[in-house]
């Protein structure tokens, strides 16, 4: 039994100008203690996927189909109140994109940390115990407990990010989703935060979903990788499989665009921009930008096939017709 299993998840935004299929038939699974990296360009539906896992898709979006199984309980069938009290933060917590803005400017760090516990502990934590736990976690993420009385505007970007990480651990979740946790930080702090993640993962035996546009970050921390393009997963496998043997032209393009210090290879990039999700191209959604595009790519969506054990790709180059 996987800890988290997502099957054919569809999350659509029902806007006046049409249905935006931000997440379309996405499937993956996560085992206990595993780290899954989800990569893709901005606007490919990564954040929507994250919000879907908490059943908190902002309106007018909603989950239109598929299953989210957390220890075999289907989230999409649970009542909102059940999801709120059993899943959010207690089972799945989240580190938000742009930690700068995910702390309430008018409460101090202590209040915000303790609050995460207040609605989830059934009385085993009084305020003082909660504060102690908050202090401990702050120390775990490398901050002093003086931070408890500080307000967000007094903290640096890296400090805020650490506070947000501490906050995500308050209710002892089994899964932590980190949505672009390092994007807004400068390189040195990025490295510190990544090391912190590695340390926490080891100490707490956490399962994590790491969402980023930056493949080098994923390479650093992930066991498994899913590459998303225009609302769909195009390639999925272990880190070794995906990084050493990229099969999808999009994955190949992404990997080539990472600068490498020792190599003499030229940096390449993928020409064009991702399609709008309201009106994606027919067939394979990548075909307008794909150097190997064939006739069939324009007509039919490629199925997801298993090329080697655990390594999946959705591309006509690799499926027999």
């Amino acid at each position: 039994m996987a800890l988290l299993e997502v099957k054919d998840l569809k999350t659509y935004y029902y806007t006046l100008s049409g249905i935006v299929k931000a997440v379309d038939n996405v499937s993956f699974s996560l085992e206990k203690g595993e780290v899954l990296g989800i990569a893709g360009e901005s606007g490919c539906g990564k954040s929507t996927l994250a919000w879907s896992l908490l059943k908190l898709v902002p309106p007018p979006g909603r989950i239109a189909g598929g299953k989210i199984l957390v220890k075999d309980n289907d989230l999409t069938k649970m009542s909102d109140d059940e999801v709120r009290s059993k899943i959010r933060w207690k089972t799945i917590s989240m580190i938000f994109q742009g930690a700068m803005n995910s702390l309430h400017p008018m409460y101090n760090v202590g209040e915000q940390l303790v609050e995460a516990l207040r609605y989830h502990s059934s009385g085993e934590f009084d305020e003082e115990a909660a504060l102690n736990k908050a202090a401990e976690l702050l120390e775990d993420v490398g901050l002093s407990k003086d931070m408890l009385r500080r307000y967000p505007h007094e903290l640096s970007g890296g400090q805020k990010q650490r506070v947000v990480i501490a906050m995500s651990l308050m209710a002892d979740p089994e899964i932590v989703i980190a949505d672009e946790p390092t994007t807004a930080l400068d390189v040195i702090v990025q490295a510190q935060i990544l090391n912190l993640f590695k340390k926490l993962r080891k100490e707490k035996d956490l399962s994590m979903i790491f969402i980023t546009h930056d493949l080098s970050v994923i390479a650093e921390v992930s066991d498994k990788v899913a590459i998303m393009y225009a609302g769909k997963i195009v390639e999925y496998g272990t880190s070794e499989q995906v990084f050493l043997n990229p099969l999808h032209p999009y994955t190949q393009g992404l990997l080539k665009s990472i600068p490498k210090i020792r190599s003499k290879e030229k940096i390449e990039w993928i020409p064009g921009v991702p399609p709008g999700l309201a009106n994606p191209p027919p067939g394979c959604r990548f075909h307008p930008r794909c150097p190997y595009a064939m006739d069939v790519c324009r007509r039919e969506e490629p199925p997801m096939i298993e090329v080697e054990p655990g390594h999946y790709v959705a591309c006509w180059l690799h499926s027999k017709r």
Binding site: L56, W89, S93, F96, P105, M106, E115, Y119, H153, E154
Partner: protein, 358 residues
Amino acid sequence: MGLGTVLTRRAIALTFALIVVVLLTVLIIGATGYDATIWKAIINEQVRAYQATLVQKQATAAQVQQLVAQYRNKLIHLYGLDKPWYVRMEPLLINTLTFNLGLSNSHDVADVAGVPYPVPVGTAIMLCLPRTIIMITIAQLICAVVALYIGPYIAYKRGTLFDRAIVSYAALTNAIPVWWLGMIFIYFFGFIMGWFPTDYRAVVYYINHFMDDPVTSTQYILWYASLPIITIVIAFLGSWLYSVRAMVLRVVREDYINAARAKGLPESVVVSKHVLRAASPPVVTSVILSLAGSLGGYIITESIFDWPGMGTLYWVAITSADVPTILGLTYMFTLIYILARFTLEILYIYLDPRVRYS
């Protein structure tokens, strides 16, 4: 810069503004010759009366002429008309700023206050202020409470029929002048239906003699105040709802509100502890400023209802060219507003940590 320094600086700036506003009023009254015209009219009146008594005493024409001229010069000197206007204005400015508001020259002002002529300006203001509070401040308070209660709810229901209805109501009532609504309500609910009074000046009696029979007085005051209050609430509630909704909407999309939800907080807690807390500075600002503004009375609306409050007092002071009352009231209006602004500065320190530590 410490907090004390910031507040002191604001206090000095606001006091400076207060003095300049009173100075401006004095300038308008003095430099345009407004007060001189009024004094001349008063002098002519007194001289005519004096002349009449002389004629009664059967003085000769030459004597009358001489005595009248003397008397006129005496009055001109007394009222300072032989001096340039700025010399006359100096004591006026100082007296006003030191709350030495003087005596009203107008019978109409005494009439609005509901006491015998002549009435000290301070007394007239103290008599009219509670009446304005009964009508306008209470109406604004009702609006504020209702808006704070259901405004966030509307923001949450954004896009629904209910939300659209409220927004349309707000746009509509925001467009209708409140005094015009008053005119129509007085005619329809007062004259045609007979549900409410049509003459409101009589409320003076029940307010000024409140202690004689508090129960009956309260009943009558409520009876008189109800239609004006209803009118103001109908006219302003829409704008209140719309602005609270807008302030909440600015906040609900912030990342930290979504974060609070992700933490698994119940929606009611998200609204009360996170959304409202974040929206509190602008909400508190608009509550405090509109309550403070209401204390000055709505001159036109009070006039339509012939309601003897601060607004009517000011208008009567204007029509009867009563300089002490005009000055006194302008000073009060400004003072109340400035005190409200300063209160806000202090409240912000409690409301927003970003202000507290900057």
